[in-house]
Symmetry: C2
Subunit: 268 residues, 2 copies
């Protein structure tokens, strides 16, 4: 889980993008995750804490431990949680593959937008299973960049998104992992696996999603790999630029935009 | 709306496929459509009545008129509705573009899996608007074949689905129309347009969807255009056969299957 391989980078714009995403999608992704007072919860791969805020707010009595492999990210996450006034989260720098916790330490494990970056997601789930107590729950949330489509759709727009998918694959990840959450949890030996898709559908009647999701979350994420896509020769600049312009056109009145996240819950 | 251009054909297997689809998806697509006793409802493009059964069952007191351009289909629909014991549906052979009803004749209009086959879907909606009374509602349900994806996904499977999309386009239709329901209703002058996606997500924990949707609805629909795809030279036989085999593989344990329908409701 090398920090340098993180496809989205660590720029300020990326931090803003993640915050926009979490704010817009908080209800959709997290409304049905709430842990009991006193429950020991591990959030693994908290990044800059964009999801931690929701986790902490929805489970005010739980004792949450949030870890990430990147020290600057953990620092930002801690500052964000303090600013939000949540007192129930402890932070720690830790690698998912070398977790500094004894077996059966947690009642619940929560992983959001992490497995997509790993070359061995099933092994990651097995590691998380070790620190989860028998009968405890794991929650996994992932996007699926192959689930995206829009209207009007063009080949150039599809090509731009395909570049993001290819770059993440070259870094050892899989941005089509949403559709794999069920088989991954099953393969890792969890039981009672239940996966529910969370589709984001955007048209002109939903202006908050046009801004918060289509433009500031999804298109921003694609735009973030422009230089990599060009320098790797995956696409030429005119095709890329038309693709991005076409995606923006689909956010105008008359356009629509679709994307699906997958949330899996299972038991050890 | 030439009957001969209907992409799915009029075979017995197709009738069985449509019945499987309607049975499996009845709740997902129709649970929130119910009309008041006495309401005058037009179902336009009823085909063999696969959706009419749900419509009639959910609105037992409504006075439903179901029309289709194909006389044999109307005959089958009528037999099906009689067999189901519904007494609230009258059938009639009629062309959507030359409806034999005065303006403002209906309180509600219902169109399901019809616009995808038409070269002028917005004009079709305008014709339907004429026979709807001011303040009445229209409900439009369409699939979107570009919303399909699976795990494991292969290029050959994508190619097979792309053949279906291309064949429907050559016949003047658009099987990516689901994502266009909002702009089409808006363009036709309806107001208060609300579109909700209805995603079908299938994994091994949902065996009834593996059979009823993945195999007997979606893959069966793709398989139905094999001869057309080969004779048009859109694909070679080995690629096609591998694509279909790959789709079946995604219905086995460890595989997943995704598809989205779109339901739009609007007011005249």
């Amino acid at each position: 889980m090398a920090a340098t391989a993180y496809v989205h980078g660590y720029s300020t714009r990326e931090a803003v993008r993640l915050a926009d995403q979490a704010k817009t999608l908080g209800g959709l992704l997290h409304h049905d995750t709430s842990y009991s007072p006193g429950a020991r919860v591990l959030e693994c791969g908290c990044g800059t804490g964009a999801q931690t805020v929701h986790l902490a707010a929805n489970s005010p009595g739980a004792r949450i431990v949030s870890v990430d492999v990147s020290p600057p990210s953990v620092e930002q996450a801690e500052a964000r949680i303090r600013a939000a006034g949540c007192g129930n989260v402890a932070f720690q720098v830790a690698d998912l593959f070398h977790l500094p916790f004894p077996d059966d330490s947690f009642d619940h494990v929560f992983v959001c937008f992490v497995l997509e970056h790993l070359s061995e997601p099933a092994e990651a789930l097995r590691r998380l299973k070790h620190v989860l107590r028998p009968g405890g729950s794991i929650t996994v949330i992932e996007g699926d960049n192959g689930s995206w489509y829009c209207h009007p759709q063009t080949q150039e727009a599809s090509r731009a998104v395909q570049c993001l998918i290819e770059i993440q694959a070259r870094l050892g990840g899989d941005s089509l992992i949403g559709r794999r959450v069920y088989p991954l949890l099953t393969e890792a030996g969890f039981r009672d696996v239940h996966v529910s898709p969370r589709m984001v559908y955007v048209d002109a009647s939903r202006p908050e999603l046009v801004e918060g999701f289509s433009k500031n979350t999804f298109i921003a994420m694609v735009e973030g790999v422009r230089e990599q896509a060009l320098s790797l020769g995956l696409v030429d600049a005119p095709t890329w630029d038309k693709g991005i312009a076409d995606m923006y056109r689909a956010t105008a009145p008359g356009g629509t935009f679709c994307y699906t996240f997958f949330k899996g819950v299972a038991t050890k």
